[in-house]
Symmetry: D3
Subunit: 333 residues, 6 copies
């Protein structure tokens, strides 16, 4: 297992296979023409967000830029970035990193998109923890960076093992519906869970597989008593989804049964807007699990512009030549 | 280089590291309890789209399912799928594939999302080819599957090398702004391009780096004459982006100059809606290049439900027990 | 018990106590002045609807108008009426009925409003029967006329005993939540119902009091088997209300259990719009029960205008003097 | 004539004929089963409003509940009630009042709806009195309770005699259009009114039957001078209805003629929104008469839930078992 | 008095004083530089409309262009023109007409705007004549051309004397409110009108100055009988304006009185939308008088572009060089 | 050349030819009847605006009213006027000015409309000067009064010579596109301008005729250096129009080239809303040129009402008789 934050850059990234083909052509032409000046390229965010991906990008740049004659400045991982703000500046010979423009832009776009969506949920939660459950909505090759980005966006944890390898937090999770179906009964499932899982794994029962949530919640509480850490409400949309009223009722019934130590986890189509509905209704939610909203976050794209060539200010039409002023940048390489 | 369509399943996928952690727990419990029935799991689309990802999923399943006692039925790659329709059905011992539910769902969700967005652009184009240029908007680890999905959605090609490895079509591309800036002049750039690129690479000049598009278009046409295949309009949004009027004017000026053989490629913030504007205005566009719209496509998620356990119809609350009827499925394993 | 359609006009109506006080004053003045001409008053609908209330109005007029020298023309009970159309015309000495203008207008307004709302539900149901369940939403003094009006609007029946006295159809109904709560169990309730109710009363069980609807539906079906006529879904809004998906699922589970003879009654916040959602989704609903939508129908008001005085055409400012032409009217008194 | 506030409960209410038929069945079953526990039923408002109907409900309960072993708590007539708030709580043997659930709910729903609509008008009037003129828009059997409810909602009075029997205020009213038409002239009408009405009845002339309001207003003022209390503007919608400009003009013309003692009553399609337009335009209105808006108020429904059975907390699914806390309730029986 | 269509070009127009000052400067510079080529200037409409103003523009061009070496092509007065269509093309030495670009553009913009607005009203009227009454809403210097443009847009006539000088139709009009006020009575006014006006002037009475329209309409009809051609409804907005209901009622009351020969003219805030309301309600309007809607029409602007210089195709950036193809143009000079 | 503010009343105005024909008829009838009382007519604004046109109206009244027995009160030129406020009051024998009601209303309507639109632009500019460029959008006969009105609305100047004759400010303007096209080159044009124009005329170059604005701006700055006062951006809509980003970029490129003394004029479809976008984006605009928005301003109409006849308060129906109170009026004649 790797150390948290220790990004491994994929082979096809390092070979440039993931780059736009026209960059390969451009580097061939420039090499043939003997053109390889020192340039400064600035990466500018297209809209506001929580900046994310720079740790991975730095790992990449450290491998490809020459050890001397390079200079990289950037915003810190996890800070806010404004639309139009320069978030990364690279000064180096063009040929050393021109091919990686696509990978750098893509890493920042995806990660900043995910981190920003996560942060919106966390902010809506107003102190109630949010965990990222989005693995089933994205291609498995990016599950790790997505979960990492969600934690950069202040999620309390995420659901995948590969995410843990990057952010270092214990993965969160309860039990899948398949376990309950295969065991044939919710109470039997949580008791098997209790029997076979190490004591440090919290016992959280999923309570909507077979019966009404209120009924199953009381059943599992009666079965595990003090050892039950929580129940998870994941009511299917065919049954109306989880509502603030449901949380209030389950809380009341648990409390009336003497189970006020049991937490309530809420999942299923959770968005910042729905989180706010729970918060506005003072629904006693212990944890929100957010899947699709974070996973489906639109990328927050960046543009890369050559702003200096051999210390001469330049810019393509539509951009202001020369380096932008941004005192928030700090040197990372 | 690999054969087109030859998907390589990542190591962390095969180890289950990209899975939700709760699936690891469930499998441990079931193993300890000695529960491993033959089950049927159905994967149902949450909304309409162009089904994509099944080739990669099949590759994965072929590696993990037992050679006998397995049965996999699915829709074909690239056909339409309706919301609520079962698109994949797996019959096998649960323990053999339970851990891969997350990866299967995620692969289908991402790929179907991208293919659907691509298909929307292609349909809007009404016969004008569309190429996928989205590599810079997504994490590099998924550039290949995104470009593959775009081609499944009927894009004519895509921009990355890694995409070519999966779909087998020549990657498309013109020249980057950086080449023009480094060469210092648009005409000089296209002439260097012409000098150093093999003859089969089409000469397409980017004409908005320094001057007005109409001026640069005529300049490069005068320089390369018959050898110029096309010009690409990528007007920055600070200059109003590309408009149908601009395409009409450039076409007229090129024709008046005797360059009616020169194609016009259009890029920059292209969406189905904007494509329709060009088509409705009869703007003589030769090719549309679409980046962000495809790359930022929301996943089209699937749900996985156990519908039979040892030939007994089951379902969690909210779902109809037993197998759904879908004559469009065919057996793939 | 009264004969259906046999309206009893209340004492305070006949004394004129329910009239606007200014009509009492007017009649006093006219009497003192010796003014009591034969007049024609026309009652005009303010907007489109299903005309209702004329049977009751006719009963009233028959009691108060002189036996000779009177003439009453009206649309038939239950036909459509258009905004601006004359629906009732009375020719008689003014003093004989001037005081009852308020009661006539109010009867037509309320009844036409209810009948129209009922007809909207029936039309949305596209052949699926609709029953009126609105008694709990209106003052008890008008429960009977409301239920009567709903049946004029083509409802299959209604829930109150007093409604039955007016429209003559067997009142519809299943069992209240209170019965289930007091019996302590849904199955026990339907079995007690089955034991004590005469055989002609259909056995319809309410299945959402304690447990999930799917579970309770199967439980009561197992208990009563062939004798169970139907189940009623009345899912509280805190549990998401009844949805087309829920009806589909319950139907499938009942059929899989061999209970395809069991009907599904749907209630709870039903409106024409929601009925259309069920119909559009081909949800196998047997009966809709509509309460609030019919009960809360806005009155469809009428205006009363003197159009002739002793055969001379008159009208107040804003109205056209003289009788309107309406061949749809027929003489009722 | 009855004492104000002295509600007479109708015969068909007391016999339970206005109840939902299923309550009759439930009581039969429970009696046969020997089930008649002491229960607590709570009545909860579905949305915000002005609580009304409790005086009538108390009259009903006092007749049907046993003299001992009963306890009734409620909000006061006319106070605000919030959506979700318990407004009435009954503790008694179930059989003593189960049949009256429908009547209690319906009384509260209708009366609270009317009182709330009236209160909206009164609040919009910002100190200008509002009188209820809605009798012609509702069935005559509920004219009295509607007018009573409007006065609970702070209307200054209402138009019907039967309303007076319940709220005890002198009914308001001017003269009907029919009087003017039958007398043939507005001035003649007000003079006859003045001649035949007792001196305590205010002389208020309706001034839009034959001529322009400005002309008729001055004519009647000239005729009655000091004895004219006011004029009523009821301009038909075919003539544009009453507008703030019209009120300003009539006021100015009356003042210029020396008739500044004459009040201006405004009626015809008045709603809170239109009242605000008059108030915002500082139109010198003396009284607003509101008919349809109050009469057509949607019921504000209540739900009835058994919350205790023999001192044990219960609730159907979706509700929180046990008594709600509401210190605003006071004991009424 | 001038011949219809005989436009007199103002002195300050001919001196170029109404031109943009920068055109004076440009002509000075070009003269000093000895630049005066033959050019072709095309005038293109910015949006769809009814083309108007070309008769006046032709008059101007005939005075300023050289008799030989000039060529002017244009659309016909009053035909439709599409946005983007060339409506006027001038070939001549630049110095002969460069100064008049401003005047030509302005004439076409204003006149096309007015004619288009008029045509919208006429089309809405669906055969009912429309007359232009807008003189009081525009500066008197353009009353004539506005009324001329309205007639080009198919208005039946207009209200001003100066309009008559241009379009040659008898000016339309009834009587002003001031006449009625000064005569002190509507009947007296129409009788004086009848006494002093020549027989060919139609007697049309304005019937809303003092009393209700229905009353005054019958009064003037009784007074003039066969000699009354029509009445004009111009109800002030303080009295709700003219409505379809009012027209129906007045028509009915006139017909009942035996005055079916009396026409009804409608004015006051008339727009195409309001005309459609009358037409949709089959209101028996004889003539609509439209003031503000035509007078306040936004100009439909044109752009002037040099497209050829000494037979060489040119265009500024954004326009297509060379002459546009438009077979609808015909040579006018 | 005339003195600023010295309005010349057109011949057809003074003859009454621009008046509504019905005023001619009314004056004939009144003369024949011998009716010519002293009247007071009040002119009331229909909506809020910047009052304009009174200087010209006063010139007209001074010519037509008798020297004695006249009294004119009015708001000052350029102050705000509220909807419903009396802005002009004339006391004189009716026959002396009745015919000019149309001209007075029209002058005030047009001029107040233009001044108000200009003021909206000026207010949006928040201190950045606005000049009126609308001559090409209105008929040449009103170019002068439109430009005068724009200056009353606080525009810094306007483009026409005839406007200068009325408001006395130097007309503003740069160079037309036609000059650049005829000179064949932007630099050549500004150099010819510099050579032939007197030194007091500011050198402002139009920089979008042939090339990109950034390129042409630097070219003309290099050519004229210190003598260049500014550049004008008038980017055609086919090239996206002028945007705040473009202004920022041009400013930066000019500053980087050492041309920070060069002002930036912005034109092309400018409206208050677009001005606010520039201001909100802190775009360094020096001057806005506004054409269509001011020229197309809807008239702000006035109504004229006789309020006294021989000192007796009168008014037509819908208006309040007698003089309105308005202490803001001052006597002008």
């Amino acid at each position: 297992m790797t150390t948290p934050g220790d990004f491994e850059i994929g082979r096809s990234v390092l070979t440039g296979y993931t780059a736009d083909n026209e960059l390969h052509r451009a580097l061939t032409i420039l090499r043939n023409e003997g053109v390889n000046p020192e340039v400064v390229v600035e990466f500018t965010a297209e809209r506001d967000g929580v900046f994310c991906g720079i740790t991975e990008v730095k790992t990449l740049l450290d491998r490809v830029l020459p050890e001397t004659g390079r200079e990289v400045w950037a915003l810190d991982e996890g800070v806010s970035v404004a639309g139009g703000e320069v978030a990364l500046r690279i000064r180096a010979p063009y040929a050393s990193f021109g091919l990686f423009e696509t990978a750098i832009l893509g890493t920042l776009a995806s990660c900043t998109g995910w981190a920003t969506a996560a942060a919106e949920c966390v902010e809506a939660g107003d102190g109630i923890p949010v965990i990222a459950y989005g693995a089933r909505h994205v291609h498995p090759e990016v599950v790790g960076v997505m979960d990492y980005s969600a934690v950069v966006g202040k999620c309390a944890s995420s659901s995948s093992v590969v995410g843990q390898q990057l952010h270092g937090l214990t993965p969160s999770g309860t039990m899948p519906h398949s376990l309950v179906l295969l065991m044939g009964d919710t109470v039997r499932s949580i008791m098997a869970f209790d029997k076979h899982m190490p004591p440090e794994v919290p016992r959280v029962a999923l309570v909507d597989t077979f019966k009404d949530e209120a009924e199953e919640a009381l059943d599992v509480a009666k079965a595990l008593r003090e050892r039950l850490r929580g129940i998870r409400l994941d009511t299917p949309k065919e049954r109306g989804g989880v509502t603030p009223d449901l949380v209030h009722e389950i809380r009341a019934r648990l409390d009336q049964g003497g189970y006020s130590h049991v937490d309530i986890f809420v999942s299923g189509g959770i968005t910042p807007e729905r989180i706010r509905e729970f918060v506005d209704a003072s629904a006693p939610v212990s944890v929100f699990a957010v899947g699709y909203y974070i996973a489906a976050a639109s990328p927050i794209s960046f543009t890369a512009d050559i702003k200096e060539i051999e210390n001469r200010a330049v810019a393509k039409r539509g951009r202001i030549p020369g380096l932008a002023v941004n005192p928030r940048l700090s040197q990372v390489l």
